[in-house]
Assembly symmetry: C2
Homo-oligomer: 220 residues x 2
């Protein structure tokens, strides 16, 4: 992990890496986070328990690495409209969260991360920042279609665009997460449509001019 420039000595086994992460995912799927034990993962992977501790200091850190690749399966094909793109990513993310290894692990490591700064950083870089490109490209596409206004020029506009992408990411991912894991209800195509409609048009029926904003910084 630390130095890839390790010249001398026996190198780390890449096969062991894969076997361990695969074993971690299957153990998560079968036993859940609380049922997952390091000894069991080692046995499933066909390696010694010490081999796990040479790579990760924690169960949590190992699980983050094991689960992060699942999120890389998310894609954003061009479905022709912003509405279709949003609905698509909502359903994709919901399908991902229905996989038992994903949902049990994600919430558990986030819970662990509330008291572990290093783990928070690992989650951000391995999962959150890695998937934010979905929003960025979806937004850019919509701007090219004329569905969204272009970003303001200059560094000011870039910062605003970043904030907008962050916000949209938290809203979409958070809504799906809350619906399926906290409220514990299924994400149906109808729900995805309703969420998309709310996201595109908001609650106010008359659009942005319905209530005059007291300050001019309201733009998302």
């Amino acid at each position: 992990m630390a130095d890839s420039a390790r010249r001398t000595g026996r190198p780390r086994s890449a096969a062991a890496d894969r076997a361990i992460l695969d074993a971690t995912r299957s153990a998560l799927a079968e036993l859940g986070w609380s049922g997952l034990t390091m000894g069991d993962v080692a046995m499933r992977a066909g390696v010694a328990k010490t081999t796990l501790y040479r790579r990760w200091t924690n169960k949590s850190e190992m699980v983050v690495d094991a689960v992060a690749v699942l999120f890389d399966e998310l894609e954003l094909p061009d479905r022709g409209s912003l509405r279709a793109d949003v609905e698509g990513v909502v359903l994709s993310f919901a399908a991902l969260l229905e996989r038992p290894e994903a949902k049990t692990a994600l919430m558990a490591v986030v819970a662990e991360a509330t008291r572990d700064e290093a783990l928070r950083a690992r989650i951000r870089t391995a999962i959150v920042e890695r998937q934010k490109h979905l929003v960025v490209t979806g937004r850019r596409r919509a701007q090219a279609r004329g569905e969204l206004p272009p970003d303001a020029p200059g560094p000011e506009g870039t910062a605003a665009a970043d904030r907008a992408a962050d916000l949209i990411f938290d809203v979409i991912a958070g809504a799906v997460l809350h619906r399926s894991l906290v409220s514990a209800q299924r994400v149906t195509p109808a729900w995805a449509r309703a969420l998309t409609a709310l996201l595109l048009h908001g609650l106010s029926p008359a659009g942005p001019a319905a209530e005059p904003a007291p300050d001019g910084s309201g733009g998302a």
Copy 2:
């Protein structure tokens, strides 16, 4: 828990109930979910460990009860406009999630609940359904102010209103949860304003008429 109509025998000590739940919260704040042990809670509460297991079958079930009362502190004072009400509840919920005992416990029990139907039900009734009235009253107020269209009459309209409240709840709570715990970034007043603006007016600049909906069921 089960029968409050228990006539004979020594009654459960209400003082022990309170002491245990208080001890659970303080232990959560100091040690986090993974550091919490039943023996430690019993010692802090001044009761025997067996007294805990007479009341709850699980660490998770006990923690849900201990944390649920924190969420009851959430209120929705009438701030005069839908915009102000939404911003207020967003900031209140974010402040709640900054309390260490709340964030570490909520995510952990949700993770546990992915493999435990009884725990899912307990979370739904003790936390989710219990706080949904915030959305219902906020929505009703906005309708009275003319900021939102009234519900359609009849059972059809009531069901649609329920779905809308559920959706809004998942979006607001999910966004705050994801922002502060998964993305691990602070919920600032500026972010709350931006989220509220997005929620009220949506992404599309021209309002609901920007893109004609292919089906008529898109209303939130």
